[in-house]
């Protein structure tokens, strides 16, 4: 499901126009982004928590130079799945190749 389908589905379930649905989705995502940028964590019910993690300067392997390098301090966005979603997804069937069906 890509973004357009998501917008349409949410719009049809809420009975709002696709335009409004798109506007709300964009507003939500940008709000999350802006909050993460200033270091806040956002919890969406039933889905999970968007948070940031700060990695200190550390030594690590760098495949480009095939050598170890000193990676600088950085901050990355992380998502922790909510318990409800995790348990719902836990039991889904998957085929032999490991691809979820």
């Amino acid at each position: 499901m890509d973004q357009a389908e998501l917008i349409e589905k949410v719009a049809s379930e809420l009975g709002i126009t696709n335009t409004l649905s798109q506007r709300l989705l964009r507003a939500t995502l940008r709000e999350i982004r802006d909050l993460l940028r200033v270091g806040h964590a956002v919890t969406i019910p039933h889905l999970g928590t968007f948070d940031t993690a700060t990695y200190d300067e550390h030594r690590g392997y760098r495949p480009v130079s095939d050598d170890f390098a000193l990676f600088p301090k950085r901050r990355v966005p992380v998502f922790r799945t909510g318990t409800l979603l995790r348990e719902e997804v836990y039991d889904i069937e998957s085929d032999e190749a490991g691809t979820p069906t």
Binding site: M1, D2, Q3, L6, K9, V10, E13, L14, I16, L20, S21, R23, L24, L25, R26, A27, T28, L29, E31, R33, L35, L36, R37, G39, H40, A41, V42, T43, I44, P45, H46, L47, T49, T52, R59, R62, S65, D67, L70, P72, R74, R75, V76, P77, V78, F79, R80, T81, L84, L85, R86, E88, V89, Y90, D91, I92, S94, G98, T99, P100
Partner: protein, 312 residues
């Protein structure tokens, strides 16, 4: 994760509502429905990419052995699926903005850093340009030496100077400016004499009281004519007079030590008689003839002058 930076759902809903310019109730409903839809999609194993934000997807985890963290008893974790969120680079850069200026530092010295320095490249380009310019300069200098500074007749004449021979470049009367003589090629003797024989019949009349000049180094026919008569343009007369004795048959070259007979003129150079003018015209014709045999371009000019005649 610490609680001090957490924002409440209520505050978040307010922010979204303000940004989307809708009521907070609508925003709250929307966010709940969005989460529900996403989780439903993930339950079916789909993935949800969101532009400039990130991608939700699920992965399959095989059955694996584990421990009960409390009792330490071994247990088997069954195969299951789990949710992942992969942030896209737009979100990554936005979040990493405070540390954007930091770079990865190599622990061992990198010997290829000069490639990223523009100054080095500019220096190399300048050096290459300098070399090219220098090369062009030397090449053009070589070509000018070949073409103009040393004309071919000088070059060939220098070779002949090894023997005690003096070459006397004589300026042509009609066009004294340019003088380019082909290398002294041994002219075929017989047609020259045949051609010159009728022309030389008049001179014997003037040969009676001839003076003699010995050619020394630096002398030219031009200079001899100038010193003896005062008019260098009469030099072909001297050449025509002495042509049978000159081995080269080249008006531009006379050998050192040769004695030249100077024909006596009926009148003088400044007030010549008709016979003298005839003599001069014949001499020019002979010179034109010899030049033509030597492939000298001056032949044409001498021939035209001879054909026009002298009427002073």
């Amino acid at each position: 994760m610490s609680d001090d930076n957490k924002i409440t759902l209520h505050a978040f809903t307010e922010l979204v509502a303000r940004r989307a310019k809708v009521s907070s109730v609508e925003a709250d409903t929307y966010i709940h429905q969005l989460a529900k839809t996403i989780s439903e999609e993930l339950e079916t194993g789909g993935e949800i990419p969101l532009y400039h934000f990130g991608r939700f997807h699920t992965t399959h985890v095989d059955e694996q052995a584990g421990h009960d963290p409390n009792s330490g008893a071994p247990l088997t974790i069954p195969e299951h699926s789990r949710v992942h969120f992969r942030p896209f680079s737009a979100l990554r850069f936005a979040v990493n903005a405070p540390f954007r200026q930091l770079r990865i530092r190599e622990l061992t010295e990198d010997k290829t850093t000069w490639r990223t320095r523009t100054g080095v490249w500019i220096l190399l380009v300048l050096l290459a340009l300098l070399l090219i310019v220098l090369g062009i300069g030397t090449k053009s200098q070589m070509f000018t030496q070949d073409a103009t500074v040393v004309p071919p007749e000088k070059a060939s004449a220098k070779v002949e100077l090894a023997s005690p021979v003096y070459e006397a470049p004589v300026k042509g009367a009609p066009a004294p400016a340019t003088l380019s003589t082909a290398p002294a090629e041994q002219a075929i003797r017989s047609p020259a004499i045949v051609a010159a024989a009728p022309a030389e019949s008049p001179p014997p009349t003037a040969k009676a009281t001839a003076t003699v000049v010995s050619v020394s180094s630096g002398d030219t026919l031009w200079s001899i004519a100038a010193t003896t008569w005062g008019d260098p343009f009469w030099w072909p007369v001297i050449y025509a007079e002495n042509r049978p004795e000159l081995s080269r048959l080249n008006p531009d070259f006379i050998d050192i030590g040769v004695t030249l007979r100077i024909p006596a003129l009926a009148g003088s150079v400044n007030s010549p008689k008709a016979a003298d003018l005839q003599l001069k015209a014949n001499a020019y014709r002979i010179v034109a003839d010899d030049y033509r045999k030597l492939d000298n371009p001056l032949a044409a000019e001498f021939a035209t002058v001879a054909a026009r005649g002298f009427n002073k």
